[in-house]
Amino acid sequence: MTNPMLELVGLRKNFGGLMAVDELDLVVRSGEILGLIGPNGAGKTTVYNLISGIYKPASGKIIFQGENITGLRPDQVANRGVIRTFQIASLFKELSVLDNMLVAFHLQSRAGFWRSMLNSNYSRHEEKRFRKRALEILDFMGIGSLKHEHTINLPHGHQVTLGLAIALAANPRMLLLDEPLTGMNPEEVNTMVSRVKQINQEQGITIIVVEHNMRAVMELCHRIAVINFGKKIAEGVPDHIRQNHAVIEAYLGES
């Protein structure tokens, strides 16, 4: 529980004159669920974009399991096991639910170009295995019955769930969840929270969550880091954060 999974060291990113992330240091421990919260425009999404490789930092380092992954492309980051979800359910809209899942197995495929082109035994076997695993994950997430639906027809809640299922299918070591509870009713929120916990406990996946639903965050996370104006203003267990002055000020100041 104590060795670091991901370390952000002195991370900086600016858009023109605006400093979106400023000298951010953050350590994510292996096996924990870390909540990343902050007012709107605090730079949370930018942090995700930096980790996952959409942006290159102006300075600073990102270290994942001892390896410097600063400035890698998103697919290279994903290759190392860091998988993220997106704020607005981001799916492959014209593919079926099952095909959506199969995209995610891409990383685990060991059948090379020729073997998959020639439809070799190995690749067929592999695909069968992936399908089976995909169905398992869908069942686990409770949307197994929708496997042949086109994602475009799914209700919002299911789309978000599928987004998480896809991320899981990519065999992550670490998940970056971006507002997974947006637009859900309380019941759905509860289900989602318990599922995320289950993923964390049963599969030992380290998770970072960005979320505005404070109650859920407090319930879900082992630790919470608060940022504002791209700077970390507090870090600690939920109870500690709840009473932190700087945090209350940041949120009050916003509203």
Partner: protein
């Protein structure tokens, strides 16, 4: 689902058999000459679609046909290289060029890519026109040798050319179909629909797009080279913007969403073009509005036609 697939493969088999038996049933050089050119454009149109599914719309595929045609024609005219080898070399030349160009241009998306490829088609034509010491510019390359097997010259006989083009088309279609059906195809589709998400799932977008682009262009090069040795004449106008647009029409009018769309499109639109030639110079007056009408009623292409009937009868 499974049944559907079986019907599809059965239909496919039937069409392939018809394709192979056609010259036996009906040895009509004119029809054969039309069909074998349609086969050439089918390859280009399906290639156009292969690039399209990765989210890139190209109006420049004829440029790669040109590369194949000029490479192979020039090699056979100047160095006596066998046209059979030329087919492969033409394809490889187009493929290599596409690989290099693809790595640069495929990073650009949306309408910019459309226009860059339009530029590409125009540049290639201008280039063949300009490089006169080698290509004879607008005079074209005359008397490009044809194919032969041992001492048998294909000559004026359309049948061997028909079979050759049929085989080339089947091979190209098979490869591109396999590619789309394999895990590579899923990655390509994923890129087309949401390349940010795909990239975050570990799919290297440039590499996969270049793969699709290169594959499509390789086959374009091969059929371009075939074209040169079949027509025995290579002219820059055949590989500029207008032919590229034609390829694109075949693909879109047929139905870009489905693998068989461009095939249907090539047959129907090219057949229509040929049929309308009885109207002589008035042909575009009918052809143009027909294209508009097809797209107005079938925005998903001709392949949507049976579906439409199916749905309306269901109601």
């Amino acid at each position: 689902m499974n049944k559907n697939n079986r019907i599809k493969s059965l239909l496919l088999l039937v069409f392939t058999i018809i394709g192979f038996l056609f010259p036996v049933i009906r040895n009509d050089p004119y029809t054969l000459s039309l069909l074998l050119i349609i086969f050439v454009f089918i390859v280009a149109a399906v290639g156009f679609r292969l690039i399209y599914i990765t989210g890139r719309l190209t109006i420049g595929q004829a440029a790669f046909m040109g590369v194949g045609a000029y490479t192979s024609a020039l090699l056979s005219l100047n160095f006596g290289i066998n046209p059979w080898l030329g087919l492969l070399i033409g394809g490889i030349a187009a493929g290599i060029l596409a690989l290099g160009i693809g790595y640069i241009v495929l990073r650009v998306g949306g309408v910019y890519f459309v226009i860059i490829t339009l530029c590409l088609a125009e540049i290639s034509k201008l280039f063949w026109l300009w490089w006169r010491p080698v290509t004879y510019g607008n005079s074209g390359l005359i008397d490009v040798p044809g194919f032969s097997i041992a001492s048998f010259q294909f000559g004026i006989n359309k049948i061997p050319y028909y079979y050759l083009s049929l085989i080339i088309m089947l091979v190209a279609l098979f490869v591109m179909y396999r590619m789309e059906r394999s895990r590579i195809g899923i990655a390509l589709h994923a890129l087309g629909q949401n390349d940010v998400l795909a990239e975050h799932l570990g799919i290297n977008r440039t590499r996969y797009r270049v793969l699709a682009f290169t594959t499509a262009s390789f086959f374009c090069g091969v059929v371009g080279s075939f074209y040169a040795h079949y027509i025995h004449f290579v002219h820059p106008d055949q590989f500029g913007v207008m032919p590229s647009i034609m390829i694109q029409i075949y693909g879109i009018a047929g139905g870009i969403g489905v693998f068989f769309g461009p095939i249907v499109g090539s047959f129907v639109v090219a057949g229509l073009t040929e049929f309308l030639k009885i109207a002589k110079e008035f042909q575009p007056l009918i052809y143009g509005p027909l294209l508009v009408i097809i797209m107005l009623f079938l925005p998903k292409g001709l392949i949507g036609l049976p579906q439409m009937f199916f749905k309306s009868s269901k109601k």
